[in-house]
């Protein structure tokens, strides 16, 4: 992970290739190639020696690579098993479906893969390995940045990418012509953004040049930025909080811990950290694809229209839409879901209202909005009363006589209720979901096998409860004089309020990583040398290039250098190309 992604040097970059195990069998190496030191007695190591050895192993490229591959494999189970962080209901369902296997897999943390000890161990080791590698590389790179290009090798022809040329000197002073040729080459290389250094001695004139330091810089930036992403995520998690809240049209919510349906907060978030703004849901817009079209009933253009009042500012009208979260006081407010909340009123036998409220019903099918809801009436009636209801925005009978919804808009809204009487199971303080009725200690009075039909209501209708307990009304919320049912039932939205100041830092580090990656992969790091030796009445020129890391265009670069140098020399006029083009064989062609 920590070496230059394309650098063939070992980590630490301390010189030519070393280590390696299985190259003895490598057919591309000469048979006398000695690699590795089998049979060499290793010196005995003390504690420090072993620690040092362990650190070396951990920070070696091979370990980093293996850890990367293990990380990829370890991430797979999290996509196979439902995860508590992404899909808590899926985990509950899995537990119900596989009661025997669940405890075993749960003990292996397979439902919290990305928070598990073993997954964490892998990526922490990986990051430790990365740090252990990046630090010496930074030191090395800082040194390299200050170092001048190295002395020109004496035998340039030993390099793979090597060109030669001979030029005649009409004037006669070959020594001066050689010097000026190198002067020109120096300027040329400098213009190509090489760092150059002259090495003139009695053997000849030469310029040594190096470029592409940005490759290693980019490489280091990439790895440090990846560390930055992890740190920003880790630290940011401690300061972030996420809450969910269901709001029915016309109701308000205040951003305090008490007012949330549920809330997750980081360990550093205290009770007073929330800005106490107030938000009112004025209305909720949605459009449905027309009945009978290709995507009949598909919903879209959701918009929760809200009024927000912050402690200091004037109330303002805003909307929360999908892909367009609302910014309030550093919080982002998202629209997660929506549904119908039929207003239900229950009266006792004397006609006294014991319950009246819009009740959010959970959509069971997004294309038809058949919804399921529960009403619980703990007080005010002779017995505790529970009602499980289905709401059909556009009800139509199935062949069996049962109702279903055929379209999600309010065309023929109908509510059916099954009534249960008995003990709701909430008196002893056991937390119960408001969306689920536990019928264990209750008697069903309507629907199902009771022989009594379910209560079936359209907006504005009232039905008597069984056993003369009272009555239930499905209120019509439409304004007086409405011609259809389109406004007869209130809608609700489910909002998520998210506060995470670290997200922007994660983005900054991610973009830095991307930038670093571009440099590290596409900037070639190479050395170039041009050497000129006076030889009688001619100047012998040598060009050579050496790749430092992956550099597929080096040969072309050396060709270009030699060609344009020749052009510059022609223009200069101090030397001339031989009458017959020099047929120096190019080793590459």
């Amino acid at each position: 992970m920590s070496s230059s992604p394309s650098d063939t040097r070992p980590r630490g970059g301390k010189g030519p290739k070393r280590d390696g195990t299985d190259s003895a069998a490598d057919p591309l190496r000469p048979s006398d190639h000695v690699d590795g030191q089998e049979g060499v007695a290793s010196p005995s190591l003390g504690v420090v020696g072993w620690l040092r050895w362990g650190w070396r192993q951990l920070t070696s490229m091979r370990t980093a690579l293996v850890l990367l591959l293990i990380l990829a494999i370890a991430a797979i189970p999290g996509s196979i098993f439902p995860q508590r962080m992404a899909d808590p209901n899926g985990v509950t369902q899995w537990k119900t479906d596989n009661p025997d296997l669940f405890p075993i897999l749960d003990a292996m943390q397979l439902f919290d893969v990305y928070l598990s000890a073993w997954f964490s161990a892998i990526y922490l080791l990986l990051f430790l390995s990365l740090i252990g590698c990046v630090i010496p590389r930074i030191r090395h790179h800082v040194k390299a940045l200050r170092t001048r290009p190295p002395r020109t090798p004496i035998r340039l022809q030993r390099l793979d990418d090597h060109r030669e040329a001979v030029r005649e000197v009409p004037g006669g002073d070959a020594e001066a012509a050689a010097k000026s040729a190198i002067d020109i080459a120096e300027k040329q290389l400098r213009a190509l953004r090489y760092r150059v250094e002259r090495y003139d001695d009695k053997r000849g004139f030469s310029v040594s040049a190096e470029r592409g330091y940005a490759r290693e810089t980019g490489n280091l930036v990439f790895h440090l930025a990846i560390l930055g992403v992890l740190v920003a995520v880790g630290v940011g998690g401690g300061f972030s909080h996420t809450g969910q809240r269901v709001m029915v049209e016309g109701t308000s919510f205040v951003n305090t811990l008490l007012d949330y349906s549920s809330m997750n907060r980081g360990r550093f978030v205290s009770d007073g950290d929330l800005t106490p703004y107030r938000m009112t849901l004025d209305s909720f817009d949605v459009t449905y694809q027309p009945f009978g079209s290709a995507a009949s009933g598909q919903a879209g253009d959701f918009s929760a229209n809200v009024t927000v009042a912050t402690p200091e500012g004037e109330p303002r009208k805003e909307s929360v839409r999908v892909n367009h979260p609302l910014d309030v006081a550093g919080d982002k407010i998202y629209l997660l879901g929506n549904g119908y909340a039929p207003t239900i009123t229950v009266r006792d036998a004397q006609g006294k209202v014991v319950f009246t409220d819009p009740v959010p019903f959970l959509p069971q099918n997004n294309n038809t909005m058949t919804s399921l809801g529960v009403v619980k009436i703990p007080d005010g009636l002779p017995q505790q009363l529970g009602m499980v209801g289905f709401f059909y925005p556009t009800a139509a009978p199935l062949e069996t006589g049962a109702l279903t919804s055929v379209y999600p808009a309010l065309i023929n809204p109908t509510l059916t209720l099954n009534v249960y009487a008995g003990d709701l199971g909430i008196d002893d303080g056991t937390p119960r979901s408001v969306y689920v009725l536990d019928p264990t200690d209750m008697t069903q009075l309507t629907g199902g096998d009771t022989g009594v039909d379910s209560i079936e209501l359209t907006p504005g209708q009232t039905a008597q409860l069984p056993n003369g307990m009272g009555s239930v009304t499905f209120e019509n919320e439409a304004p007086a004089g409405a011609k259809d049912y389109s406004e007869s039932v209130k809608r609700y939205v489910s909002l998520q309020v998210h506060h995470d100041g670290s997200a922007v830092w994660v983005l900054v580090f991610a973009l830095l990583a991307l930038g670093g990656l571009l440099l590290a992969l596409f900037v070639p790091r190479r050395r170039m040398w041009v050497k000129a030796v006076a030889d009688g009445g001619t100047v012998r020129l040598e060009y050579a290039g050496l790749a430092r890391g992956e550099d597929p265009t080096l040969a072309a670069a050396v060709d270009d250098l030699a060609a344009s140098h020749a052009r510059l020399l022609d223009a200069d006029g101090g030397t001339s190309a031989p009458a017959t083009p020099d047929d120096t064989p190019n080793p590459r062609k």
């Binding site: 063939t8 190259s23 591959l69 962080m85 997660l336 994660v506 990656l517 571009l518 992969l521």
Partner: protein, 345 residues
Amino acid sequence: MELDSLSVLLIWTAIAIYAAAFVAYAFDLARRSQLASDRKLAAAQLVERELVGAAVAGSSVSTARTGGASGSERTAKDGAVKGGTAEEAPRRFVMARIGTSLTVLGFVFHLGGTVLRGIAAERVPWSNMYEFAMTGTLLIVAVYLAVNLWADLKYLGTFILGLIVVLLGGAALGFYVQVVPLSDPLKSVWLVIHVFVASLGTAFFALAFALSVLQLIQMRRESRILAGAEKTGPRFLATLPTAERMEGLAYRFATVGFIFWTFTLIAGAIWAQDAWGRYWGFDTKETWTFIIWVLYAGYIHARATRGWRGARSAWLSIVGFTAVLFNFTIVNMFFKGLHVYSGLN
């Protein structure tokens, strides 16, 4: 609706032309086998005639060892020239050229079908499985053709076109859905960017994958030659670049793909932050995108690790692309998650 029917027609025409191109490329491979054995024969005759024997006998083996974009063609010519055998005409892989021409023709139909689909849907043509496959394969062909302007990779034609015919044909058969309006979460500029860049990354990974497969086959042949084995596998391999050259090319494509993939991850996170209220949540599709990223990161590091160059890194590239295909098909269709845009029920 009319436009969409026309689009379907164009896509099927493109599939048919691609299939023809695949056949032409397959004939090209057969022709290469023929050439390779002819050359071997010619070389043997030259040795007998004691002409510059050493130089040419080497050429039949060293052909594959020479780098260069069209190294094989050039070396074949060089061999002919140096050997002084005037009757040996310059090598031109005619069937490969026919294959490429057909591919270009197919690409035009494919592009037309894709654009019409976009016009019919009044949005970018990549927002369900059918359209992803359509655009993704279009990009693979586009990248393949564009790369061929820069370096001769026509020997990959059989692999690439085979892949295209299977993917596009499979999508047209199995994934076709009518044009429907976008669901709300998809109404975002990030649909244009995120999905397009992901498809582009996939295209580069596909080329790297094809090269890695060929590299492994070529490596087997090279080690057999070095071991002095009689049979060295399919003869057309002799006209292909060396395993080392193919590894280098595969690496270059994979790095470009990796850059795009990294960008896909970042763009996806920005979109997720807007659409789902968090930038990362280990949704199944996110997880697999991450797995693929890590696999290719491993691949890039393998190039710099002793003992991991060559076969092992080629296998990593193959595993990586398999994961890409898995992510596109199995994860989209069978894994539960938030990326439920396959359009299939």
